[in-house]
Assembly symmetry: none
DNA sequence: GTCACCGTTGAATCAGATC
DNA sequence: CGATCTGATTCAACGGTGA
């Protein structure tokens, strides 16, 4: 357990702990603007009428716990508005939230999120690869749950590790529908009687993807409906800090033991494929200053349809067009924008070479300098 | 065109016609309790800001039509409550409704449906096999839309052709996620300029499945946002009666011509199902997400000459080389390509085991899930 | 006729830093 | 705050062309 140091205006943040109590009260006691991500799996407001039996007459162990009973939509809405408001207060300006639910509650939750000022980024479908069938044959197999990913506000610069998720998906852009198995087998926690410790334990694979997507190592992740602590366990594995809030003593106990058993991954495994946007910017002028291209040298467009000459200040001059490598490229192509680094080529030994090669050389030198300074 | 005969209290029902005007007014002029099913594709209230360009600089033809503009959430909510109330009045007591939407509007619509007294049966995810990508890499590919299927009231004895849907799904119980392509090719209607006649035309396959699931031949299906008439065309094919309501003259014209061209199916010549599924692709990232290999764990090349570490996003890191299991293998071998699944091994009890074993385990689980549903 | 290749397109809340 | 500038970014399917 750790705490992040208190300042004059804000009390300390209780990191990697499970806090007891009502989540709204507990959240309101924490300092505002202090959390990077919230993952919330609120009660589903399931309206089950009587017991459900399988065709063989065995009873389905349904969610009928007292914490999931709400007398009406409006009382559920008040509950939802309350915890969403407290959650939004806790988030940093660039923070984000994930909420999971089913058709029983997710529409009310989603509308309340929009009303509270959250800005939707995606809705994500968790497509269960092994759902419970619909035994009565009266409806479709309820084979998915819905997640909503939203930033605290429209202007937020939210975290999204695009390249990492693309890597997770074998090199193609990750979609809004995720196929993952439900939580079963050894991962499913049991109580002392051998029954499932929590009726709706989420799979660690789901949290793994969420945390890789929308947090960085060292971020603070809060889960106001902690349950058996899947969020905390995966956060620990991935080197994120967590704050859990859970009302039920029994769940807190199971979660604490679970997280105690959990081990953090190697630091080397936590690094993730980065984005090109994060690489240092290299002005084209440096290429000229360093003599990699000489003033007066000709550059050729991709496809060799246009030419332009390098000038000493790192601009180009073509037919009546002067400007940066990007501006001249865009003008020639009649395009709204153009990446000059990949558009322009120079000639060496009769071969056309993209000028981006030169930028890569400069970046490699910069990295070498970095290492030398250590 | 036909009309169902008028009675003392109710005027005639204008079957297989496209009615002009505002859908709320037109619905209120029709006799209550007269319709078996409603399919509604209301405006989504997209809130698009500037232009969007693809990486090749072509401009995306966005939905910027006047009918999708609302000044605020509350004005959209009033619109939604209005048409839902009129729709519910029209439905027979055992009637049902389908509404389709995206994350921009579906949560508000779903909450309004519950508030209006509709009883949710399923939410259904239309997983698009060929969605538009996220061009800027800022979010997940928005690869699905959500449908809500609800009965007029909780006690309704709604229509559900369970066996027909099971047959449509190769004998396996139909799930709540449907993989269908978007509407392209010859099915996509064009205007006289060769541009798309409607920005959001839905595929006939989607309506086909909906009407097979929740109507019987001779049922009356109403679509208050008729557009280019997909609902009417599929209803005609399947021997259902339709009522379309559409405000825009241009859409009514296209829809009328389309339905005129459409032919009812032979009673005999019905289904053409049964496509072979290719062996499912398993991203290596799933092996990590599912905890079969831990981030930081070492993999060994075939022949044990090279090593690399697993990262949390399913990439490998070796000596200065990062990338997919295939890329790092190819780099080490100096080969143009490499099958990472057979190249890399992990160590268990001192033995080297190819990671392909893990892929086989995942595939076996996926197949077992299929069988379980029989 | 076949196949490889290329251009086009789809309900999208799609940039970020610096001046 | 706004204006300006750099430069990062896409997947599947369909249709047409030409070898």
């Amino acid at each position: 357990m750790t705490t992040r140091k208190a300042t004059a205006e804000a009390p300390a943040l209780p990191l990697n702990q499970i806090l007891a109590g009502d989540c709204i009260e507990v959240m309101n006691a924490l300092p505002e603007g202090s959390v990077d991500l919230i993952f919330a799996d609120p009660p589903y407001n399931l309206q089950l009428k009587g017991d459900l039996h399988r065709p063989d007459n065995s009873k389905v162990d349904a969610v009928d716990d007292h914490w999931d009973q709400f007398s009406s939509f409006s009382s559920y809405d008040r509950f939802t508005q309350g915890w969403l408001r407290a959650a939004r207060r806790l988030l940093k300006p660039n923070g984000a939230i994930w909420v999971i639910g089913s058709y029983h509650n997710i529409f009310r939750v989603g509308a309340a999120m929009q009303d509270a000022g959250f800005w939707m980024l995606n809705d994500v479908v968790w497509r269960k690869s092994n759902p419970m069938p619909n035994f009565k044959g009266k409806r479709l197999t309820n084979a998915h749950e819905t997640l909503i990913w939203a930033s605290r506000e429209e202007s937020a610069k939210y975290t999204f590790n695009y390249e990492a998720l693309k890597a997770l998906n074998d090199g193609v852009q990750m979609r809004s529908d995720w196929v993952l198995p439900i939580c079963t087998g050894h991962e499913r926690l049991k109580d002392d009687n051998g029954d499932k410790a929590h009726p709706t334990q989420k799979p660690e694979s789901l949290l793994h993807r969420i945390l890789i997507a929308s947090t960085n190592p060292g971020d603070v992740v809060l889960d106001p409906f902690f349950g058996t602590g899947t969020t905390g366990a995966v956060a620990k594995m991935l080197g994120r800090d967590f704050i859990g809030i859970e009302r039920e003593e029994a769940y807190r106990k199971v979660a604490a033991e679970r997280i105690e058993r959990t081990r953090k991954f190697d630091a080397s495994g936590l690094e993730v494929t980065g984005s090109k946007r994060a690489e240092p910017r290299v002005p084209f002028g440096q290429v000229v200053e360093r003599g990699m291209l000489r003033p007066g040298e000709e550059l050729f467009s991709i496809g060799n349809r246009f030419k332009a000459k390098v000038r000493a200040d790192g601009t180009l001059i073509g037919n009546d067009i002067k400007g940066s490598i990007h501006q001249v490229g865009a003008a020639y192509e009649g395009a709204p924008s153009c990446n000059g680094w990949t558009y322009w080529h120079f000639k060496r030994d009769g071969k056309m070479i993209p000028i981006d090669i030169l930028r890569q050389q400069i970046r490699a030198e910069m990295e070498a300098d970095q290492r030398q300074q250590h």
